[in-house]
């Protein structure tokens, strides 16, 4: 009865779309900074500072990655067409992302167990794995903005369609974004020399990040007239206009907090920036789940599938969230060298 009631009155595809968007957001926010730490690793040479960097995320990183698995599985169940088409079209960058994540995940564990002479091998695996995974995610993002041709419920493009200057630039862009997240995360979680090192890097990173964001924001409408239409017509423009303005305001605010050597504010403001970028992406593709032509309702699984899954999701996702917040709460505060969160 409950399931019947749900299917009658509620827009199930929309609910699942929101759940998946939320899952991806959680993933970007949380795995973003720990991938960023891998990207920043080459900038820090001292072994004990590298230990501290890893220890700031060691207790939470695998929980962060579980959102990626949940996102994949939920997309499979709730939007099988989108799962099939997007993963088919982006098989190569997604596979590269998985390779990166495997190396990185294993490096996390084995670095602490390896002997001193072998540790550098796992350091490299951690750096390259993080870079690879992030860059691939950026390419995937760019390719989704570019759009994926669908004919007869199947991908209608080539194996290398994802490989364009725009998508590669998006890859670089995400590397910068995650590096900024990682940098401000370390400012929040560390002290002393490592923190000073990061404080000196946050301004140039922010500048590059803003340039990248501006470039993507110009490039997208220029290359995609249909997205330009969305952005620059009423009433959409009313939704869209605040985004660049807010980005500027938040960036200026962040500069002030960096100058004042705040510990927490830069990270939180970076999250706001990432969220704003994310909402710009949302405005550009809504309500399509496979841009430019397939809406989320067209790609959705039948209501029997969506309601069946929703029962489990509504019970378990809140529990996961509570647990996540609890584990961040437990590991709050600064991480120092002598306190190895391993």
């Amino acid at each position: 009865m409950l399931i019947k009631g749900l299917t009658m009155n509620v827009d199930l595809p929309l609910i699942w779309f929101l759940i998946i968007v939320f899952g991806v957001m959680m993933y970007v926010v949380m795995d973003g900074f720990d991938l960023g730490i891998g990207i920043l690793f080459p900038l820090v040479k001292a072994e004990h500072e590298r230990d501290v960097m890893m220890n700031t995320v060691a207790p939470v990183w695998d929980g962060n990655e579980t959102w990626l698995v949940l996102g994949g599985a939920a997309l499979f169940g709730a939007f099988p067409l989108a799962y099939a088409v997007i993963l088919d079209a982006l098989a190569i960058p997604l596979t590269l992302m998985l390779f990166g994540l495997i190396f990185r995940g294993v490096a996390f564990e084995f670095r602490f167990k390896a002997s001193a002479e072998k540790r550098h091998v796992w350091d490299k695996a951690f750096i390259w794995g993080s870079l690879f995974a992030t860059f691939s995610q950026g390419v995937v993002l760019g390719a989704v903005i570019n759009g994926i041709p669908v004919v007869n419920r199947a991908y209608a493009g080539g194996a290398l369609d994802w490989l364009t200057p725009f998508t590669l630039f998006c890859g670089v862009g995400l590397v910068v974004a995650y590096a900024l997240l990682g940098c401000t995360w370390l400012i929040m979680k560390t002290e002393g020399q490592l923190q000073e090192n990061m404080q000196s890097r946050v301004k140039p990173l922010l500048l590059v990040f803003l340039l990248v964001m501006a470039a993507i924001s110009l490039w997208t409408p220029l290359a995609h007239p249909e997205i330009a239409d969305r952005w620059f017509t009423l009433p959409n423009i009313l939704w869209f206009l605040p985004v660049p303005v807010l980005v500027l305001l938040v960036s200026l605010w962040m500069l002030r907090t960096v100058n004042k050597k705040s510990h927490h504010a830069p990270f939180l403001l970076t999250l706001v920036l990432i969220f704003l970028g994310y909402s710009g992406l949302g405005i550009s593709i809504w309500p399509n789940i496979i841009p430019p032509s397939v809406t989320l309702w067209e790609a959705a699984a039948p209501p029997q599938s969506l309601s069946f899954m929703l029962v489990g999701a509504l019970i378990i996702i809140p529990i996961i969230l509570v647990y996540t917040f609890w584990s961040y709460y437990v590991f709050r505060g600064k991480v120092t060298h002598d306190q190895g969160y391993h």
Binding site: A58, P59, V60, D62, G63, E65, T66, V69, L70, G72, A73, F76, G77, A78, P80, L81, Y83, A84, I86, L87, D88, L90, A91, I92, L94, T95, L98, F99, I102, F103, G105, V106, E109, F110, K113, A114, S115, A116, K118, R153, A154, Y155, A159, A301, P302, Q304, S305, F308, M309, I316, I319, I320, Y323, T324, F331, D338, Q339, G340, Y341, H342
Partner: protein, 478 residues
């Protein structure tokens, strides 16, 4: 690559990644229940060997669990990247089932795994035991969902097809499809047996090295009771599963038996060994036992078993492969039964822990459970061919349209990366086993906790031993 087309390469890639992956969950399922039993025995008897064994095996469990998570990540994406037509066709049924599996696994990791691995002495013994039991239950629930999904692909029901997409009509029918109960029981029991022989071989190795401690004896004894009781039960389940397959997938049975045609109304023979040749449509060099095929599969002498020639050529599974994988599985199963019976006899004579011939045999039987499990999966999955969803979607229509070049490169990379990553992980696990249980390990609280020197939080950090033998310093350093 090697004259293989993109479809074959995609199949090999799936077979490779899923075979690599299944080893970890199989051991996880078995060890989780083993740990629950060990902790229960410890609480009941307060014999120290149970507690020491609990700590020893929970480290191996943790490493194993961590590697399972890493290799499982790949599986969640491969359905879409390589099998997009399967995903868009059947995703509305297999997708929700896999989502439930992921949610179950998360729930388990979120709630109870941390308490189980790091909570000894921090929570009361009752609560800790409860957490261990919940982890064991969680692994069984994950098995439930994965096998529901796989069994539905073998014997689909409870759906209709609208616009070339399956639509679930009755979820209970979808989940409890005809082959599901048999497959669930067969796989769960196989996981238990795999772990039992894994544990038994570890004990045999230590006993052969002269480490005759109560803990080692307990390990061997428990493993051998499992072999004695569960291996014959598994044979019974397998027989019932076979009859179920005969009813719903007769072509698979014909291919397993290498049986090509029935003559008049004679009972079918059993081909003991031979070489099924798909092109010549016969089993060459066959050694046959008259009537036995009918006797085993129909439990009668007046019915015949299905013959491959009665199926169109394009509907036949590859008999050459599954004829052998099936026999490997059954042969290993018989050896497990033998191990159980032998152990009972030695137990009766009081030489269970001393007979070197027996201990050598058990040591070499260590991987037998996992090999039998893999051989069984090869049999049932290749036996389902040429269908990916039986009778509904052919494998060749399910694969994404990638080129041979792309599939060759990705397969090579997967092999390279898996070998390098798990090539470190597996030897590490073996090193933990070689080290053996440490007495009184549970008396100290695990290092760390919020604000303390060391805060372990993830499965793999439950084991503190360093990666290589030579480096003893790294342990102390942390």
């Amino acid at each position: 690559m090697f004259g293989l087309d993109a479809l074959e390469l995609a199949r090999i890639q799936f077979a490779f990644t899923v075979s690599f992956h299944i080893i970890f969950p199989a051991i996880t399922i078995g060890l989780a229940s083993f740990l629950a039993v060990l902790e229960g025995m410890w609480l009941k008897t307060k014999k120290e060997e149970y507690r020491d064994l609990y700590h020893f095996w929970s480290k191996i469990f943790a490493v194993n669990f961590g590697m399972g998570v890493v290799s499982g990540l790949v599986m969640a994406y491969q359905f879409g990247t390589n099998w997009s037509f399967f995903s868009s066709f059947a995703g509305s049924i297999t997708g929700p089932l896999l989502t439930y599996e992921v949610l179950t696994a998360f729930f388990l990791e979120a709630g109870f795994l941390g308490v189980m691995l790091f909570g000894w002495n921090r929570v009361g013994p009752g609560l800790h035991f409860f957490a261990t039991c919940m982890v064991a239950l969680g692994t069984l629930m994950s098995t439930f969902w994965i096998l529901a999904s796989n069994s539905w692909m073998q014997t689909p029901q409870g759906f209709e097809i609208v616009n070339n997409q399956v639509v679930p009509v009755d979820w209970l029918k979808v989940i409890f499809n005809p082959s599901f109960p048999y497959r669930l029981l067969h796989m769960t029991t196989a996981a238990f047996l795999s772990s039992a022989f894994f544990v038994g071989a570890s004990a045999a190795w230590h006993l052969l090295k002269g480490r005759d401690t109560p803990a080692m004896r307990t390990m061997l004894s428990m493993a051998m009771w499992m072999a004695l009781i569960v291996a014959p039960i598994q044979a019974g389940i397998g027989d019932a599963h076979g009859l179920n397959t005969l009813k719903y997938q007769p072509a698979k049975i014909a291919a397993i038996e290498g049986h090509w045609e029935n003559k008049n109304s004679e009972p079918s023979p059993l081909v003991l060994i031979g070489y099924p040749d798909m092109n010549r449509e016969e089993t060459r060099y066959a050694l046959e036992i008259p009537w036995l095929g009918s006797l085993i599969l129909t439990h009668s002498l007046n019915q015949q078993i299905p013959a491959l020639k009665s199926f169109a050529k394009e509907d036949r599974p590859n008999s050459t492969i599954i004829f052998f994988t099936f026999r490997i599985m059954v042969g290993l199963g018989l050896l497990m039964i033998l191990a159980g019976v032998w152990s009972l006899w030695l137990r009766h004579r009081g030489t269970l822990y001393r007979s070197r011939a027996f201990l050598h045999f058990i040591f070499w039987m260590g991987p037998s459970g996992l090999l039998a499990l893999l051989a069984g999966w090869f049999t049932t999955e290749i036996g389902r061919q040429p269908w990916v969803v039986y009778g509904l979607l052919r494998t060749k229509d399910a694969v994404s349209g990638h080129g041979e070049m792309q599939m060759s490169i990705s397969l090579l990379l997967f092999i390279l990366i898996y070998c390098s990553v798990f090539g470190v992980g597996y030897p590490y696990m073996m090193r933990l086993i070689r080290k053996g249980p440490v007495a009184h390990e549970g008396l100290e609280t695990n290092h760390g906790g919020p604000g303390q020197h060391r805060t372990p939080a993830r499965p793999l950090s439950a084991a503190q031993e360093s990666l290589n033998d030579a480096d003893k310093g790294a342990d102390n350093e942390r």
